[in-house]
Symmetry: C2
Subunit: 375 residues, 2 copies
């Protein structure tokens, strides 16, 4: 196999694993910070590594438009270009084309669209997406697929999923197998169990290094998402990593790990760092809130990130009010570190058979909240 995956320990449906790539090993359950344009916004790559992150996600759509896959290839690939020597997963561009680009036309062959940057026209097909991801030197290539917003009718989801499965086959055929690199299929089917099963079967027929659960976190709410996750992961091969795309909030991740998911990505920690929102074990804190103005305390007691180690809430509040870049830098760092601490906690709890205690404590803390937020 092009990517080796070891499951070290299980606890209920939850798995503690290691995924080995050419650029290093990823301990799962893993959270991947998002580096859309070849940078995790407001972070030095060595700082991202210092948070404990072992893999980044890059966006094919953004990188193909700017600076272009040919340039990245010429510069020695995305790892070298952005100075990140650990594993990289790239999405296929499919989801972003649907949500970001201008005028687009979807056909059996692929998607015609115009760039949101300069209006330039592109035609993205499964073959082209895989080729771009190859040029980027992505360790984990994702199949090109279509993703339907929920709620949607059985008929709409079925048609879309069937095309995605045909595209999955074309993606796999276009992928150049190399040691330490792999390609993941993406299960679709919305919140319809029969379609999820059909999709899983199709993907297994083709055969992939890992399997993503796509088409969730697209407006359906956590309850529906968890209902799907009650059955969808178990339809996928047990010996391969399972990746829930675009998820999510800390409690989404905990719920998904309990249901057998191994990998996650989300812009939440980085985007929130730019909007003053901090994640902590006591829930979210908005540092712009006036109650922090004279608060000596660290943002989160017990956190080992530079923000919590070296600064008061009062200082971060001040930086936010003054629109200082350092506020974004520190909050982003804290949020990514919080997510990594959460994943470390989940991994340790699976290893030590203490997962139910861990999860109970997690929900109790989150519910407790940052007390004075309520005042």
């Amino acid at each position: 196999m092009a990517l080796k995956f070891d499951i070290l320990k299980t606890s209920g449906k939850s798995r503690r694993g290691q995924l080995h790539t050419k650029h290093g090993t990823i301990n799962t359950p893993a959270f991947m910070p998002v580096g859309t344009c070849g940078t995790v916004k407001a972070m030095m790559p060595e700082s991202v590594a210092a948070t404990g992150a072992e893999i980044l996600l890059g966006n094919t759509y953004h990188l193909m438009l700017r600076p272009g896959a040919d340039l990245v290839e010429k510069m020695g690939g995305l790892h070298k270009f952005m100075n990140w020597n650990k594993p990289i997963l790239t999405d296929s561009g499919g989801f972003q084309v649907m949500s970001l680009s201008g005028l687009r036309k979807i056909g059996e062959d692929g998607v015609k669209f115009s760039s949101h940057i300069d209006g330039k026209k592109y035609f993205l097909t499964p073959e082209e997406s895989i080729k771009i991801q190859h040029k980027l030197d992505s360790n984990i290539t994702m199949c090109f697929d279509e993703c339907v917003k929920l709620p949607a009718s059985h008929d709409v989801v079925k048609k879309s999923m069937e095309m995605s499965m045909r595209w999955a086959k074309r993606s796999k055929e276009a992928f150049v197998d190399r040691d330490g690199y792999g390609i993941f299929g993406i299960q679709q089917g919305g919140d319809y169990e029969d379609l999820r099963r059909y999709s899983a079967e199709k993907l297994k027929e083709i055969g992939f290094d890992g399997y993503a659960i796509g088409g969730l976190a697209v407006g359906e709410g956590q309850e529906t998402m968890f209902k799907v996750l009650d059955y969808a992961p178990q339809m996928l091969p047990e010996d391969k990593p399972r990746y829930l795309m675009g998820v999510g909030r800390p409690d989404d991740i905990v719920g998904a790990v309990l249901r057998g998911v191994d990998m996650f990505d989300c812009v939440m920690p980085t985007r929130s760092g730019r909007t003053s929102q901090a994640f902590t074990h006591l829930g979210t804190i908005n540092i712009r809130n006036a109650r922090h103005k004279e608060d000596y305390r660290p943002l989160e007691e017990g956190c080992d990130c530079p923000l919590c180690t070296n600064y008061s809430r009062a200082y971060i509040h001040h930086l936010q009010k003054a629109n200082e870049v350092l506020a974004v830098m520190l909050l982003t760092w804290h949020n990514i570190r919080y997510y990594q601490r959460l994943m470390e906690g989940l991994r340790g709890a699976i290893e030590n058979d203490t997962l139910s205690n861990f999860v109970e404590q997690f929900y109790a803390d989150q519910q407790k909240g940052d007390i004075e937020e309520l005042v």
Copy 2:
């Protein structure tokens, strides 16, 4: 004395010194990065220290408006608030009140002005400025003064300078002497030699820990500035540090060190980091220029900053085009490091009696330019 200054070596008018404060020693000639609002924009303080900077400048005007001197004092002073444990110099607020604030009225007592942030009214006097700087726990307090834009008539400059000298006396009287802390007087007098001499005599009568040369870099051009610097520094006590305020470009600094100046501050390296301009020994480079699009090379050959060590020009160009914060972070770091390398070079050259060679090489390199910029 409250601040001890040692001159280790001289070379012509140039001096290699050490200024000792409660928070550490500053090797001179020294360049102070500007941390206006309690942060050097887009830099972690540990990164600022890693560039070799041994002292920061904080702006009294900005800090008194937000978050307020009382809050900073309550939080343990500016060093602790912003996590910078090395020396800090604060300006008096005088210059910023003139250039930034709204409606203002200058009288013998002080300056009435309204905040540029919320229009709130303030009255800043020499006594109040010194008190604020005390609350900030600044190692080097600056006298409150008025600064006239050049060109200006002898009469206008004289009247303003005389008031500044009366304010200098009041500032000194308001200053609370403490070990490892000091207050600097500010010589005024525009480009009039007689006024500069009068001002210097007045300041020496009062007695300060160091002497700044104020009222330059305010529109007079390098030629006029150097003419003033041909005589002004020598009017000040030989055994005290001399600080040229708000200067400047690398060649301004080299010219001023040759004329006996020991300390500098300027927003140039940090501000330029936010506008894509990089300082190098081969002159300035604008990284947005299309010629860098596919350039493998580091920004500056021989520079040891993270930007030059880990990235290609192509990558920084890409970050700039994509408006990524990391571009600002890396360019700011590089620029501050360039300024510190320049100061290290000057200090070494004075120590080793190779200053004229150093300066010759400096101008030759700057003139050569980053060759392909011309293509």
